[in-house]
Symmetry: C2
Subunit: 206 residues, 2 copies
Amino acid sequence: MTLVRCEVDEVIYHNQEQAQYWYRVVTGAARKCSLMMDGRRQIVDFLLPDDVFGFGADDDLHHFSTEVVSTGTTIARYPRHAAEQLAESDPQVSRWIRQQAFRSISRLQARTLILGHTSALARVSAFLLEWMDRCNQPNGTTICLPMSRYDIADYLVMAVETVSRVLTLLRTQHIIVFRSTRRLSIRDRRALELAMVGTEDLLIAN
Amino acid sequence: MTLVRCEVDEVIYHNQEQAQYWYRVVTGAARKCSLMMDGRRQIVDFLLPDDVFGFGADDDLHHFSTEVVSTGTTIARYPRHAAEQLAESDPQVSRWIRQQAFRSISRLQARTLILGHTSALARVSAFLLEWMDRCNQPNGTTICLPMSRYDIADYLVMAVETVSRVLTLLRTQHIIVFRSTRRLSIRDRRALELAMVGTEDLLIAN
DNA sequence: CGAAATATTGAGCCTTATCAATTTAAGTGG
DNA sequence: CCACTTAAATTGATAAGGCTCAATATTTCG
């Protein structure tokens, strides 16, 4: 296992690259993304500390590229062949890998559910709630968004401008408060949950 | 392991139900879906023969419900505890489960990429191409859609009417030909690939 | 054959993408 | 530390695409 300290926007592995390692985020954040044929970028998953990624290629190639999102990100790297052989022999390791795969599935399904919302308001609200849960700040409602608005837009499959607009709407409704551009507090969780359901009337009403 | 023969629309397991089994499609097709808070339904995954599902719950509850799509669907059922213990002891089984989990991840990511397209035309085109690959008819381009248009709409997160409209557009452009409502041939694969990229001009031009 | 479910087509409105401009933040070098 | 440059984020106006509501057509099934 090797620890690697990374720069922002550094590419951990490219799409179509030989899958030589499995990876785990130690500190910081990363994005798994895909460049689509029409030139747009799509972010399939955000990776946070303890998230494992880079496995699961049916052939031996990565099907996405993964890039570092925030400064001070550290990645642990496991030689794939060794890890796989270890998995064959050691039930402990095997179980751990299986559980990580299941976690990965959970994340993907969670994102899928977010994309299930048709309105921009609902998607952004769902995203904020998901992110709050993932950050898992003990009691506080202040969350840090390490990624840019562009990243969020590409994750939610919408235009940056729309992300921005929804965020300002939520701000003017005092549902969220910005500490800085990328740090915010959720003031009214209930309102966000309602926004997910699509009753934007409530936003105007309050 | 138990083999179960199912009726159409039969529920294999409900959301929030105790996860007692792992499942595998033997013949036919199923849909994994989630009822959203706003009443809309979302289909997270379609399951085809040899697809394994129902595993990966972090707690012991299913987080979706899974229903049968087509007549003559047969499902294999594996007691979860026994399967897990077997996985602990038998490297073969362990490896198999790991690979199935990876396959599941691949499917989810594929769907994610489909939802990455913004236009209805692109989504439906991507769906048809994905489905053609999954059906894996040796040489033929005729594919069978076991699910209803509503299912497709809920999979692609759009209105049924839009699905219908796109399909008729593709038909009038002779890109696809309907053998029956739920069977069609792809006449111009290239055009579908172009449609994914968003050049709908080409549709009008030809 | 008739009834119910499924699928298609039409019209109008609403949301969001797009293009364009401005403001704010973040680096950079003197 | 401050001017300067560049990137990131916000705001505005417009137009297009898709959703909604409504009606019709087709298929399925009893």
